[in-house]
């Protein structure tokens, strides 16, 4: 087990800069999830850590040792790929044993390690099968097993659950979390799925176009998103982001003609300062004293429903309320001050009172 440190990593493919300076430190045994939209450079970052790509500048340190120029084989890491990348011509046993055989471990020891890992993952009955005779979930497990038997310093996961159906994904997510807790191996987990990120990570790194925008615990990221990108990306349905202007000495925001009180907070900016007001759909209250929004669509989610409101071409508002709540042509909504997020409209960054 070991820590991981990334030091000013940049990566360009030709003139295309994919990673624009990533610094990161993982504590021993920590599980850090990198989350971001497709194409933001997550896989590239992971592949640099694995040694499958070399960074344009910057360093990778595992356990304090600079491994930037080392071959993947010399880094003592294991990686689980999105498409599993099992060796199709080998049995499940051989797939798991391959890395150990390469290291020249004695036969009996390999057997013992593979048996232990397959017991952990419930693969005992499948050891003689070929990958093509396995279901998606089983292949996923074999890929995990192949990573575990090696007893590596670092686990790398590149969207390992994206090829599974929804139900299996939830199940495997729990399994990965339990395994990681139990084995206490430092892990870097990449996903575009924010639910996966929230449930799996000790900490999250939210990436946007090759730039790390927030590194914090899931709770922190959810409750205090660092900018409008994170605010809109984390949480489902997405946070309402309404452009407005500060007023009354920074204690009020005017949004779509309505004045919204910020409670005890006071922002030290001139009146009329352009801001973005953020509020999650579940925090909006239906309130006779609130402002009026025309209803566009009502979406049923099961125990809850989503009301999409707003005037065409103007600010849109989504409200999440209990199913069965009567909704007419318009709703009156109020925004409780403790749940408001204020962002600078020009930079998108979170503003603190």
């Amino acid at each position: 087990m070991a820590g991981l440190k990334l030091d000013g990593l940049r990566k360009s493919f030709g003139s295309n800069e994919i990673l624009k300076g990533v610094d990161l430190a993982l504590a021993d045994g920590e599980m850090l999830v990198i989350v971001g939209a497709s194409g933001c450079g997550k896989s590239t970052l992971l592949r640099i850590v694995a040694g499958l790509e070399t960074p344009t500048t910057g360093r990778v340190l595992i356990d304090g040792r600079d491994v930037t120029d080392l071959d993947p084989s010399a880094r003592d890491i294991a990686m689980v790929f999105q498409n599993y990348a099992l060796y199709p011509h080998m049995s499940v046993f051989e797939n798991m044993a391959y890395g150990l055989k390469i290291r020249g471990l004695p036969r009996a020891e390999i057997r013992a390690k593979v048996d232990a890992a397959s017991a952990l993952l419930g693969l005992e009955a499948l050891l003689e099968r070929k990958p093509r005779q396995l279901s998606g979930g089983q292949r996923q497990r074999v890929a995990m097993g192949r990573a575990i038997v090696r007893d590596p310093k670092l686990f790398l996961f590149d969207e390992p659950l994206s090829n599974l159906d929804a139900k299996l994904r939830v199940q495997m997510r729990g399994e990965i979390r339990r395994l990681q807790r139990r084995l206490k191996v430092t892990s870097l987990y990449v996903t575009h799925d924010q639910v996966e990120a929230m449930t799996l990570g000790d900490r999250l790194l939210v990436m946007h176009k090759g730039v790390p925008v927030q590194l914090a615990t899931p709770t922190e990221v959810f409750e205090r998103p660092a900018d409008t990108y994170v605010a809109g990306f984390i949480g489902s349905p997405a946070m309402n982001l309404l452009p407005g202007k500060l007023g009354r000495n920074g204690t009020m925001v005017t949004v779509a003609g309505a004045d919204i009180d910020l409670g005890s907070r006071r922002f030290d900016r001139p009146d009329g300062f352009p801001v973005v007001l953020g509020i999650r759909p579940e925090h909006v209250l239906l309130d006779a004293a609130g402002t009026t929004w025309p209803v566009e669509v009502v979406e049923l989610l099961g125990s809850e429903m989503l009301v999409h409101a707003g005037r065409p071409g103007e600010a849109a508002l989504t409200v999440k309320i209990a199913n069965g709540t009567p909704v007419s042509d318009a709703i009156r909504a109020s925004f409780p001050a403790p749940h408001l997020h204020i962002f600078d409209q020009a930079t998108g960054l979170r503003m603190e009172a």
């Binding site: 071959d71 084989s73 990348a85 099992l86 390469i102």
Partner: protein, 293 residues
């Protein structure tokens, strides 16, 4: 969904396949029937009369030490041509599969020999290895190696093997390269992370995944070497010196056309025909088999 026929009736379809059918009948079926018939007959020395002799031509053939020697020679020739062309092509394909500068140019150049006519290829090799005027041949003699493929049967055999293998390298190269590129990159990367490097990775991961291509090319190359190298071998040395490069296809031609022994030549071509059928059946089996993934 119902499939609608654009041109009803049988006349047009029949007309459209007629040219191909005519070609097949005139150039394949008819000569084949002729060959089978004349393989069962014997002409007298002057070609004035023929008589039916049953399987005599065949029994004579397999009792003839010269024919048995030609079979052995052809087996050696086929094995060597296949081994050399597949071996070289595999090495080139592995190199071309890596990320290198000018990769496209390099690949194009490697495919090029395939477009050279067999007789031309043979002439190129003769010019290179001619004992007096050939670049390589003259050089070999200068450094003290007695090189003359016109006198030394083994050297002649080596030369025709090289010339024939060279022609087939391009074909093999294309298939090997496609096979290598069909291997998912992540599998290779998983192996790298598992610690497998160099030859070991090639042997335990790449080669097993390339086996369908290897089997396929094995059959194709054997068919090529056995039946499709007439022009190359004939142009290098006409089967000589002596009979040292006389493979079965050459012998059919030399016995039948040059020595006018039609009965024996026909029997030989019937034997070859049987060989082609067996190898083609093999080839179809491998072509029809799905790649192992």
């Amino acid at each position: 969904m119902e499939r609608r026929t654009l041109f009803p009736g049988r006349l047009l379809p029949a007309l459209l396949i007629l040219p191909q059918l005519v070609l097949t009948v005139v150039f394949f079926l008819w000569p084949a029937v002729q060959a089978i018939r004349s393989s069962l007959e014997r002409e007298d020395a002057f070609g004035t009369s023929t008589e039916f002799v049953g399987l005599d031509n065949f029994t004579d053939l397999f009792a003839d030490p010269l024919y048995l020697a030609a079979i052995g020679r052809t087996v050696v020739f086929c094995a060597c041509v296949t081994a050399v062309s597949m071996g070289v092509a595999l090495v080139l394909a592995v190199l071309a599969d890596t990320e290198i500068r000018g990769r496209t140019f390099y690949r194009t150049m490697l495919i090029w020999p395939y477009a050279v006519a067999p007789a031309m290829a043979a002439v190129l090799w003769v010019l290179m290895f001619h004992p007096q005027i050939g670049l390589v041949g003259a050089w070999l003699n200068r450094i003290g190696i007695a090189w003359d493929y016109k006198l030394d049967g083994t050297q002649a055999m080596a030369l025709v093997i090289l010339a024939a293998a060279w022609k087939q390298i391009s074909y093999n190269f294309i298939f090997f390269l496609a096979g290598l590129q069909a291997i998912p990159k992540t599998i290779i990367e998983a192996a790298r992370i598992d610690g497998a490097r160099g030859l070991r990775r090639f042997r335990t991961i790449v080669l097993p995944l390339l086996m369908p291509t290897v089997y396929f090319l094995l059959v194709v190359d054997l068919v090529y070497a056995a039946f499709d190298t007439f022009a190359t071998v004939y142009a290098v040395n006409g089967g000589g010196p002596g009979q040292s490069t006389q493979t079965l296809v050459l012998k059919v031609y030399l016995d039948g056309v040059v020595n006018a022994n039609v009965g024996s030549s026909s029997a030989q071509s019937v034997v070859l025909m049987a060989g082609v059928i067996v190898l083609c059946a093999l080839q179809f089996r491998f072509l029809g088999r799905k790649a192992v993934t």
